[in-house]
Structures are given as structure tokens and as C-alpha cells.
Symmetry: C2
Subunit: 391 residues, 2 copies
């Protein structure tokens, strides 16, 4: 069965060109970049070339890029660097809709003596900038707010946040794992201190990420060990994956226009088709300020997990907005923060497209999904026809 | 030019069989193991199979294995888990010859209020067990001592250390990155709490490691984020590399006997040949209690870096015992801890073999290296013939 893969915010296919670039570094040029012999030194040069490419994607200097093992590590590195550099400040700010890599670390820090401000979003998933501004204080060490949300696709006003923080001595980090490769990300234009990105979200391999650290920003390492990454991240360089991230960065830079034209049009076609053909279906997230590849739709009175399982029979891959995979029956914290009603949040599905998707695939989903929803509703004790309410 | 690769303690060639096992997970089965759809779920099963294989290599239960991004992350995870689980104890113990992943983290912790005991070694690199026992106290939270040293190859008395810690409520972690795959490592027989291993030291890929955490041992995550690894390590699973580590674990388990017979004999042939054919050459490290693949030899009155560069012209890859790659001119902290004199420590070379090495390669090195040393000594201001002393 052919797979219709629309779960690219979860992970992406490694581009075959990226894999080709990686291949020599497993069994042929397998040296350690830190070695004195030329066999190892040669791979050091490839790492430098990859650093240039990642830097170019976000308009950074190569020396501002630290390779990590994933987006989560980049986030942890940034957050710990910020608070260790400002040990006397005990207030940290984030949004209520962050990825678990930031959210769960903030919750941990809250238990160790940090005061956390969680900036809310409105029903469209848009950040409450007034609330944010009101809660800045002299005690604020760090603001960590994502560039774009992984579930709703809503893009946050990163430049505006950076402006609000200017000259206040507050570190500004953004988890841009979902934004990089989908919308233009220019660290110099925005003026933030740190930014996280991840390889496997942009057709690079899993197990590699990067952290941008503005030149001059205070830093202390999270992964303490050897002298790799100029003492900023211990651990033997993951040569093949770093080379892969470099090649993927080049590729997605070249595909940015296609992502924002053809893929955006595909996403719109999918969204409109599903909303039109399914009663009681609601879009989650602002219509305009969104990643071009993402749509999150609630199908009222059905369970997201059941929808996924039935789509799976047609080879359609997407995600449920609910946090099912953690074993919890709670709906997604993102949708709850947006005030999506219980009956709608439980039946939300996120489709996230890539440049690999086609119009034929979109039309296939628009054809197959509405009957699935209808069938599930007929089995649901909560469904008594369009417009009914939960008891 | 053919490469004679004798730097396997730095990193190893990915076994082609391992790479074959990894290949499907880049462009074909690229799903996220946490996804609800069967495309993602299928890779979850491959991760489980890899976990079984890694566990089998060290006689652990699969549930006791946490996948990480490298040995350094495994070490950090273990050390932070130990001290966070025992927040009231402020004394931690390690050896004076640890890898930077442990050494530098202990130095960092010393600055944050921990009292550190550094257990010395003797001139053969053998741990001072009396010193170790004397310094245990009620305030001791953690002992982290490596299974085998990366530079000298000397194996530490892990079972004896575990016995000394029994029922004392002290966490025992061992960095076994250099031991696993070279000597039998049985976590149940020894009875330790945590153990680090790394993929790229045993013909698996770079960028993946594992941490053994004994069932029942207190734990808290270092990489805080999503629910992956049962909440013990956030970050999207690095599927291809985890599968690779699993396959590599199977392979090295099968090669353990060859490592301890044929490779050991090759190492002995190399060591004896070099010591016999070169005046003023000294073995660093106990002759017997050593990894079967490692020999560390000091060539007095010459610089290790110069030896490496001249060997490089013949395609011979090895390492200098000095910490040159960190930009420091200081000799290795391991050799200093062993009391190796300055004139010898600077000219030390570590050869670390693998099952890929041949007798022909060994004989090539034994033929080429002694004339290199002779040539360098004739250029050295410190060399006035055998037995001369530094001014």
C-alpha cells in the first residue's frame, strides 16, 4: 500500500540527496574529527562546510552554530545557558503552547525555585503580547517562545518579542524547530540570542540538531565533556548526520518558495475540502499567520485516535492533537490553551505537508476522510446528528 | 594510499553489516516511532529489537537500557540522575584518569558546591583501592569510575568497587565506553547502578549511545522533553542509529573471542616489535590488566604530534597521549596521573586495534615507526643519545 504521508511536523523523509551526502562517512571516511591524522582531519573540514550551510539557512555566522543531537538538546542547552549566565535572576517566561522540550523543562525549573510566567494565547492560538509585556521584570532571566507552533502551525511575532526585550538584559531563545525550512528565518533581522532547529524536521536525518548562539551572547555548555564545538558541546562529532543536516539546509533553502506557494496551495485545498465536506469540522488556529504546510482540524464528537486508525487503513499518516502517545487521555495542552472545547479537542487531527506531497494525495484524503468521520459518529454515544451537544 | 587504522579507541569504522541494517530507516521507514499510524509504529518495534540486543551485550534487561546521543550524554545523564536523586549528599568520587565527559563534569560540579575526591592511580595506571575505600563517607552520593581507561587501556576493578559500595546507598556509575565490545561486561554479575556505552566505539554509528540504569535505581532525566524512552530521555528517537547500535552490539558480542585472542596477539606483536626496535621506548600501563586492543608507548625526547604527522605520511592512524587537540600543550592528564615523566609523556602514542587489523599492518608499523623516531630524535634539541636528560 502506498503511504500518504502528511505528518511532516512529526518527522520527515530524509531526502535521498541528503542520504547520498552522508554515505561516505559511515564506512569510508569514518575518522574522528578531533584526531591529529589527516584521515580524521578531513572529516573536520566537512563539518565546517556543513556549519556554513546551516548558518546560511538562518542568516547566522558559522561560528554561531553549535551542532547538537536534536531539537530537545538545543532547547535544553539554550535554557540552561541562559539561567546559568544569569544566576541571580529567578523569573523565566514562556508560552502556554510550547513543545514538551521547553514546557517540561520549564515545569522542572519551576520546582527548583524559578518563577515561571506562561503567556496565554487566544482562541486562534495567537500570543497575548500585552500579557507578555506586562510580565517582564528586572528579575526576568529568559524568554523562550517558539517561532511557530507544532500543532496549530500558528507563527508567533518573534521580531516584536525581540523588540520588547531590547536592551533589557533578558536572554531571548526561540524554538524554531517547526519554522526553519518552512518560512524565512533570519536571526540577524530579528535579533534574538538563541534559536533551536532540528535535522529530521527538514528532510535531514534524525539525531542531529543545531543551536544558534548569537556572537557575544553569554554561554555555558549543557553537554559538558570534550573540547568539541569549541568547548560548547562535548561528545564525538556525529559526522554523517552533521553533513546530512548541512545538505538538508541547502535543500530546504532552495525549496522555501515552493513550500510557500505550491505546498501552501495544497494545504489550503486539503483544508477547504475537509471543512466543506464534513459537518461539525472546525479549523484550529489563525487562518493567515500559519506555517504553509500545517492544518489542524477538529471533528466534533469523535476521537482523534479512532480517526487515525481508520485513516491508517488507507495508508494516510497524520497526527492527533491529543497527547495519546504519552498514555494520557487529556487533550493537547495546545488546544486547551486555545480554549478549544473538550468535544472538539479530542477529535482534532493535524495534517502537515511537505514538498513531497501531491494534489492527488490531497484529493485522496478529501475523498476518504469525511466518510470515516461519518462512520465514527454513527458509532459515537455523543453524536446525535449535527449540532448536538455533549450531555 | 591505504590507511592503517589503529585509532579504534577514538572511533571505529561502521561495520558494513551495521550500515545495511540502518539503511531502510532514512528514506523508506522514516516514521516517528511515537506516531499513532502503523508507518511510525513499525519503527517502534525495530527500536525495541535493538534494545534487546544492546541489553544482551551487557546482560541487562531491555527495560534497563536508555538510548542517548553519545557516551558523553550517557555520562551526564548518569551523574545528574545520581546527584538529583540524593540532593542532600554533597560528596562525589571519581578517578584522576577519567574521560573528559566525566572529568570536566566533575570539575563543573566542584564549582557548584560538590566536594570531589579524585582517586589516584599508580605508575601502571592501576587504581588505588585503599585510597578509594578510605574516602567513602556518609555524605557520598556518587562514585563514577570508568571500566577501562581510553589512553592506557588499563582495566579497573569494577566488581571490587561495587562490593565496597554494597548497601551504602551510594550510586555507582561506570563509563564503560572503552570496555564494551572489547572485554566481557556483565552488569548483573558486577552489580552497578548505571553504565555508559557508545555506538561509534564498537563499529556502530556516531551519534548514538546507551545508558544502563539498574531496575529499581532512582532516576531523573537529563534531557527533559517528550515521553520518549519511557520519559527518561526526551527527543525524537534516532531510529537508524539505534537500529545500528543494536546490530553492532550483536556483532561485537560475536567478535569478543577474536578480540581477546587474535587481536590481542596482534597488539602484543606490535608492542613487542616497537619496544624491541626503538631505544628509550616505554610501555605506559599495566602489562596484564589491559584492554586487548590497546597499547600506549612513550618515545622519549620526541613530540607525539610530530610522530603522528610523520606516520600520517604512511597512512598510519594513531593518537597522541597529549591533549593536543584541545589546543593545550599540556601532556595528557592520564599519563600525568600515572607519573610518566614530562620527557616521556610528550612523546606517547596510543595504538588501538580492531578486528579489522591484520598482521601485515602490524609489521608495517613495526617497520616504519622506529626510523621515524630516530629521525625525529636527530632533529630534537633534547636528544643527545640514549639515556640523556632534559636540560
Amino acid at each position: 500500500m502506498d503511504i500518504v504521508y502528511m505528518d511532516n511536523n512529526a518527522t520527515t523523509k530524509v531526502d535521498p540527496v541528503v542520504l547520498d551526502a552522508m554515505m561516505p562517512y559511515f564506512t569510508e571516511f569514518y575518522g574522528n574529527a578531533s584526531s591529529m591524522h589527516s584521515f580524521g582531519g578531513a572529516v573536520g573540514r566537512e563539518i565546517a562546510a556543513a556549519r556554513d550551510k546551516v548558518a546560511a539557512l538562518i542568516n547566522a555566522e558559522p561560528g554561531e552554530i553549535i551542532f547538537t543531537s536534536c531539537g530537545t538538546e538545543s532547547d535544553s542547552t539554550a535554557i540552561y545557558a541562559a539561567i546559568r549566565s544569569n544566576p541571580n535572576k529567578k523569573h523565566i517566561i514562556t508560552s502556554r503552547v510550547e513543545h514538551p522540550a521547553v514546557k517540561n523543562l520549564y515545569e522542572y525549573l519551576a520546582k527548583t525555585g524559578y518563577r515561571v510566567t506562561w503567556v496565554p494565547v487566544d482562541k486562534d492560538g495567537v500570543l497575548d503580547m500585552d500579557f507578555f509585556r506586562r510580565h517582564l521584570s528586572d528579575d526576568t532571566a529568559l524568554v523562550s517562545i517558539m517561532w511557530a507552533n507544532n500543532e496549530s502551525g500558528v507563527i508567533f511575532p518573534i521580531a516584536e518579542i525581540a523588540d520588547a526585550l531590547k536592551d533589557k538584559g533578558i536572554v531571548f531563545h526561540s524554538d524554531a524547530v517547526q519554522a526553519v525550512g518552512k518560512v524565512p528565518v533570519d536571526v540577524k533581522a530579528v535579533g534574538l540570542d538563541m534559536l533551536s532547529l532540528s535535522g529530521h524536521k527538514l528532510h535531514g536525518p534524525k539525531g542531529v540538531g543545531a543551536l544558534y548562539v548569537r556572537k557575544g551572547a553569554k554561554f555555558s555548555p549543557f553537554m559538558i565533556g570534550g573540547h568539541q564545538e569549541r568547548g560548547r558541546r562535548g561528545g564525538t562529532e556525529n559526522v554523517a548526520s552533521i553533513v546530512g543536516l548541512g545538505r538538508a539546509s541547502e535543500l530546504v533553502k532552495g525549496h522555501l518558495e515552493e513550500m510557500n506557494t505550491r505546498v501552501r496551495a495544497l494545504r489550503d485545498r486539503l483544508e477547504e475540502g475537509l471543512l466543506k465536506n464534513t459537518p461539525n469540522a472546525l479549523l484550529n488556529g489563525a487562518k493567515d499567520l500559519r506555517l504553509p504546510n500545517t492544518t489542524n482540524i477538529s471533528f466534533e464528537y469523535v476521537e482523534g485516535e479512532a480517526i487515525l486508525l481508520m485513516m491508517d487503513q488507507f495508508g494516510i499518516c497524520a497526527s492527533s492533537g491529543s497527547a495519546c502517545t504519552s498514555g494520557s487521555l487529556e487533550p493537547s495542552h495546545v488546544l486547551r490553551a486555545m480554549g478549544v472545547p473538550f468535544t472538539a479537542a479530542h477529535g482534532s487531527i493535524r495534517f502537515s505537508l511537505s514538498t513531497y506531497n501531491t494534489e492527488k494525495e490531497v484529493d485522496f484524503v478529501v475523498e476518504k476522510l469525511p466518510p470515516i468521520i461519518e462512520r465514527l459518529r454513527h458509532m459515537s454515544p455523543f453524536w446525535k446528528g449535527a449540532g448536538c451537544q455533549l450531555q
